[in-house]
Symmetry: C2
Subunit: 423 residues, 2 copies
């Protein structure tokens, strides 16, 4: 895409209420626009990243047999009364509907998916199965902070699995746990599997916690650095205490929760009287698990973990474009023509090679502004075409995550980018 056509522009002004790296950089770079606290518009650059995260999540959920569906946000009061959450869930948005009807706006979807599953799967032969959706949730949070990390309206992937036994549910739970690890690795973030409270109906659940100083959660990591415990589950734990699994001492760190998986067991099937018929014709309660990842929250977490003081540093897998092609101006008309011609050719050839490229072809920016834009937006690879590089029949190659710069010959540039993309 040509940057001159992009309707958004970067801004030098830090948003007044920016309390975190993602709130600051995503707004300044024109990835998102705040409509009100906790409610954002995703702009062209930001939406590209959000969709890439959604697609990674979709692929991993399909891989564990998840069937994609799309549930509505609106639901009748009765569904939420059946579980008691019409009164108990304080963040639930309530609406006056037609006549004397009342509706809730989906803060989560157990109240919709359980009656749905009940309509189709009643015999033991119909189990197990899992459905998921990528859809927007609404929660009437009293205060919203940290940019897109905690919103009143946010994007969520929620998967629900249905089983005839605890053992089968727990086996699927382990598969989901591995799929979640894959999602975060592919998104370029380090998320620790963290033991958390299971509420009233399970001994435990698991969160995926990304270590970062800006995190609002406190977790205790084991010595191997591959497992942690949430402080809600172990409120008396301190830094240096023995790990609950006796594996050594724990280290206290701050982290952001980017996903959670939960053995619901019969909590919602009982609320909706959802039983299956077993081999002997007897009714038994259905076992459920639920598994959540917020793609918008993950996008914010990626920024928290990948930025410097100049801007964001996107991993290739979720960057809005892989390459930022930057053409610098020249006062010499002949040289300017050559810069334009070479830039256009590289732009076209990169696209032909299937490489996503943002071309800063703007003529109203200084060198400094163009470099500042590239650092702020944070695409993984910057290619500069200028009078200086053309004197060497070259283009300047600089990766956002590194300080190294080098020249690559114009002729081989696209090929080199293509192999770098595949790395």
């Amino acid at each position: 895409m040509k940057q001159s056509k992009l309707f958004t522009k970067t801004s030098k002004q830090v948003p007044a209420d920016a309390d975190s790296a993602n709130a600051k950089f995503l707004v300044q770079a024109g990835f998102v626009d705040q409509v009100m606290a906790g409610v954002y518009t995703y702009l062209p650059l930001g939406l590209r990243t959000l969709q890439k995260i959604q697609n990674i999540v979709r692929e991993e959920m399909n891989d564990i047999g998840g069937q994609e569906i799309y549930m509505p946000a609106l639901a009748p009061k009765e569904n939420w009364q059946a579980t008691g959450r019409w009164d108990d869930l304080d963040v639930l948005f309530k609406l006056d509907g037609a006549g004397d009807k009342e509706y809730a706006l989906g803060a989560t979807h157990e109240e919709i998916v359980t009656p749905l599953a009940k309509k189709f799967a009643r015999s033991y032969k119909d189990f197990p199965f899992a459905v998921y959706q990528i859809q927007d949730k609404f929660r009437n949070e009293l205060r919203c902070k940290s940019g897109i990390l905690r919103g009143r309206e946010f994007n969520m992937k929620d998967l629900y699995s249905f089983h005839t036994s605890v053992e089968d549910m727990e086996a699927y739970y382990q598969k989901a746990l591995e799929a979640y690890k894959n999602v975060f690795v592919r998104c370029g973030i380090n998320a620790l599997v963290t033991e958390a409270s299971g509420g009233s109906f399970s001994k435990w659940s698991h969160e995926f916690q990304m270590p970062t100083e800006s995190g609002e959660d406190t977790i205790y990591v084991n010595e191997a650095g591959d497992y942690a415990w949430n402080n809600e589950l172990f409120p008396d734990m301190k830094d240096g205490d023995d790990a609950p699994d006796k594996s050594g001492k724990v280290k206290e760190i701050k982290a952001i929760e980017v996903g959670n998986i939960f053995p619901l067991k019969t909590k919602y099937s009982e609320a909706f009287k959802y039983n299956y018929i077993d081999e002997n014709g007897e009714e038994k309660p259905v076992m459920m698990g639920c598994y959540g990842i917020g793609p918008s929250r993950t996008m914010g977490a990626i920024v928290e973990a990948n930025h410097d003081d100049k801007g964001m540093i996107w991993p290739k897998s979720v960057a809005p474009f892989a390459v930022h092609l930057v053409s610098l101006g020249s006062k010499d008309e002949t040289i300017q023509d050559r810069i334009d011609t070479v830039s256009e050719a590289v732009y076209t050839d990169l696209q032909k090679a299937g490489i996503e490229v943002l071309w800063n072809d703007r003529t109203d920016q200084s060198f400094g502004e163009k470099f500042a834009d590239a650092d702020l937006i944070g695409l993984p690879l910057r290619l500069v075409v200028s009078e200086k590089t053309l004197a060497e029949d070259s283009i300047e190659w600089k990766e956002r995550a590194s300080t190294d710069m080098r020249l690559v010959k114009i002729q081989s540039a696209v090929e080199e980018v293509a192999s770098w993309v595949k790395e």
Copy 2:
């Protein structure tokens, strides 16, 4: 996908409140599930079709330079007060938010997109541009009917264009009109460009009306059958009257509106004091156009136009799968093994060839039930593997839109399907 794994099942029971073909067949075939009147869950088969329609719309909007964004459903009361629609729009859902704040749920997005554009584009050099989103809208309709044709929550593509002159807006309007024609042709429906009222700020707008007896709108079609007038614009018109453009007599028909485009001019830019700075440094009001297509409504309209008494007849471009592979059972174990082996091979080879296939591998259905399922779901091509077809080393080929059946040799079946898909 294997039908035995699909968690939904078809139903012989017509929904009690089904008042239209789409409400009946989409529910019976397991494409959608009604959560409440006007609010549906999209199930695996239905979501695949919805996503295909969305992608056709996305491609056509990108082709006319639309930049994809994603605006939230929640917005502050103030935005809706600025245009007067907080009080005037009777279908607007209103919510109590944090503290004494009030929010609206997006019934349309002029109230969000106009202030957004104002943040980024102020100089005449920034124009023209167009942004669009594919997002869910909420409207508190008193009564909802006709399945997914008119919902309280529904999917919408809304594009907004921004210009410095009426002429430029009108030129873009024509491009959008052509893009809309492409969308409907690609979705397999015949949508007539129909002159409609322009409200208080334009002489006209245009609707895209699909002729069908179940339509709730009345339109008057010209003799060439390529242009129509809405009866809201010409309330006194009758069948057989002279066409407003003197091209001959009009014919009165029933139709469903599947899209509309609207010259907003300065209606919303004035409400938000959105001016641009022209070449002489003077402030002038921005000209806007808006352009809507409902992918979920389009999906319903496709069913209204493409069904028979047995079920739906999906056009290839938007069918959830191109092929329904149906394996019939045999009491002879050796033959049953061969049916399974051939079916599995055809299923695998079709997928390898990039062809989307639903394989009815269920062992708990009779021949009649399998054929009824195939007719109801309505995939474009049915391939049957049975004792009878294998006796001829063949598979039975039947297209849903035709009554012809023929046998194709097993060896060449996948190749024949691949060329049929490309037709």
